[in-house]
Amino acid sequence: MTPNPLLPALTARARAAAHARTSGCPCGATVTLADRPDATVVRHADTVAKAHAPDLTPADLSPRLTAAARLPGLLLPPLSPTPVDLHGRLVSFWPHGTPVDPTDPDAAPWEAAATLLARLHRTPAPVPLPPMRGPAKAALALARLRTTADGTDLAAGTTAVLRAWDTLPAWARAEAPQPDTTTLCHGDLHLGQLVRHPAPDGSWLLIDVDDLGVGVPAWDLGRPAAWYACGLLPPDEWSRFLAAYRAAGGPAVPADGDPWPALDIPARALAVQTAARAITKALAEERLLDEVEQSLVDACDRMAAVPPELAHGYAK
């Protein structure tokens, strides 16, 4: 693989930012936390620098950073609400937090995640924000799948994923505005989006504001809901998550009774998005889907036979 030319420059910036914060930096190595087309993230001591997606503009990012700076009990606050330009990429700086341990399912902070989401959804947006980008990201994943699968024999599962996508209402495919334009949402919730700050045992906070915005709050519950529906998240963990969200007064689902009329569309959309990404990745790596990925494609296959609960909630 070609090394990312952005990395040395970003590393230098992270070092400089870390040294500006503390005079006695132990000055170990700078660690690359992520290096993907849409984000490069490095850490030096207690400072993290993130180069955001190439297409992200200051108008997209600045209000989101400001929102994070103004909601310190919910979102990890950036070191500065103003991003800097580095070789045409916007870069933001953050304090380091301790992430969720991906090897220890029993320690996953389901209650903390749900409570943070409920509080976020109940908080008025502190500055005017663009729409939450969840549906747009799902549409992007489907567009990539179409491009990747095009010209080859349609990869196994692609037809099921495309058919399931077609059952979704226009707003969930980012082809119409979301039916909620005021509720503050994270937009990309998964277990990699929580850190303890101050490290290592401070409060859990949400990170990654790139998709933060106003929209349908059930979208933020959609991934855990989809994981549960696809058999990837055990029922008791899903129950704990949902109960904690309700206990904290989260508005995305009714306080009691069946939550699925509210969750159905986002959970479908996120299962379809995840399946699309899995197939795209498997095609690029010239391999078959693994068991976990296949369970998402299987869910897409079943979705086409059961149309969304049109009578309920946001399915319009």
Partner: protein, 96 residues
Amino acid sequence: MQCPKCRAPMHTYNRNGVQIEQCSGCRGIFLDYGELEALTRLESQWSQPAPPPPAAPQAYPAAPQAPAWGAPHGGHHGGHYGHRRHKSFGHMLFSS
């Protein structure tokens, strides 16, 4: 107590006076000697004309609701969580 199948911890529930252990991972159920018979006996009492109202101070946890397109075992007492759990956890639950 550890589940003999998937090694996850097992929790004890009291169902109509019968102690049963359920695995927190794969949801499998372990019955001690005589407990199956005790449950069968209770079941036959239930089908009699005037069954006593069930007292459930420690209710057996019902599976949460699931959508119609969910996995066949999703939301029910399926036994596939244990072996898949660790794999899906680190692999799927941490990415966009």
